[in-house]
Amino acid sequence: MWEYDYPFLVDESNSHTLAMSSETESTDDGIVREIGHDEFDPVGTLALILIYFVIIGGLWAFMYFVEFLGNGPTVV
């Protein structure tokens, strides 16, 4: 198993042991539970990206068929 060999930088054990001062971003990274590779399904990302897909597809169709083709005369 490949390992980072500079532990001061990469925390391979996954435990977040950052001691931050109070002026900095409060006590911790706000982590309340650990989620590993196999337990994580990015459903939120999927939802957002599907919405994006619909928006982009729709905007493209609008831009091309309405804005562009409606902006005649066009070079032929």
């Binding site: 599907l50 083709l69 066009t74 032929v76």
Partner: protein, 178 residues
């Protein structure tokens, strides 16, 4: 390597978008007949005298489109700091319901030639002749339709003044002015 199935789905959707984009543009070329400015206009030495010896520019006297045959017309425009000839001053005139080919070049620096509110939009590069063809529809009624022409590529101090006009005139007026 493993890719999460959601990311695989998104990868597929991304390709769909990409292919869709390329497809719509291709449809425009094949279906609607849209053509890009290309090298069809040929080259010309970027000097005023040489340009005026070129066939298309030599025949252009004044601001009226030159009749070729049927409903086909030609206009040769010289774009230079900071005006269009023809175009600035007296507007270029073309008849309604016509197919007009523009030949545009410059003896000095790079300019733009854009008919505002339309898709007639080309760069004008010294040494190159831009050849673009558009079709002007029949007019509604008998008032001429006016389009503005602007240079949209920085060409020096005075660039912001560089503009002109094109008028599409009704058939009777066109015949009458001949």
């Amino acid at each position: 390597m493993e890719i999460h199935r959601y990311e695989k789905l998104w990868f597929g959707l991304s390709l769909l978008l990409i292919v869709g984009f390329i497809g719509t543009i291709t449809y425009g070329a094949v279906g609607a007949g849209v053509q890009m400015v290309s090298d069809s206009g040929g080259t010309v030495d970027p000097s005023y005298s040489t340009i005026n010896e070129n066939e298309k520019f030599a025949q252009q006297e004044g601001n009226r489109a030159i009749h070729v045959e049927g409903n086909e017309y030609e206009v040769a425009v010289i774009a230079q700091r900071f005006s269009f000839s023809p175009g600035t001053g007296d507007p270029i005139t073309v008849p309604e319901d016509s197919r007009v080919t523009f030949y545009v070049t410059s003896p000095d620096v790079i300019h733009g030639f854009s008919l505002v509110g339309t898709n007639l939009n080309t760069m004008v590069i010294p040494g190159q002749i831009a050849e673009v063809t558009v079709e002007f529809d029949e007019l509604d009624g008998d008032e001429p339709k006016e389009y503005g022409i602007i240079c949209h590529e920085f060409c020096g101090a005075g660039h912001e003044e560089m503009a002109g006009q094109l008028q599409v005139v009704p058939e009777e007026q066109w015949e009458g002015d001949a």
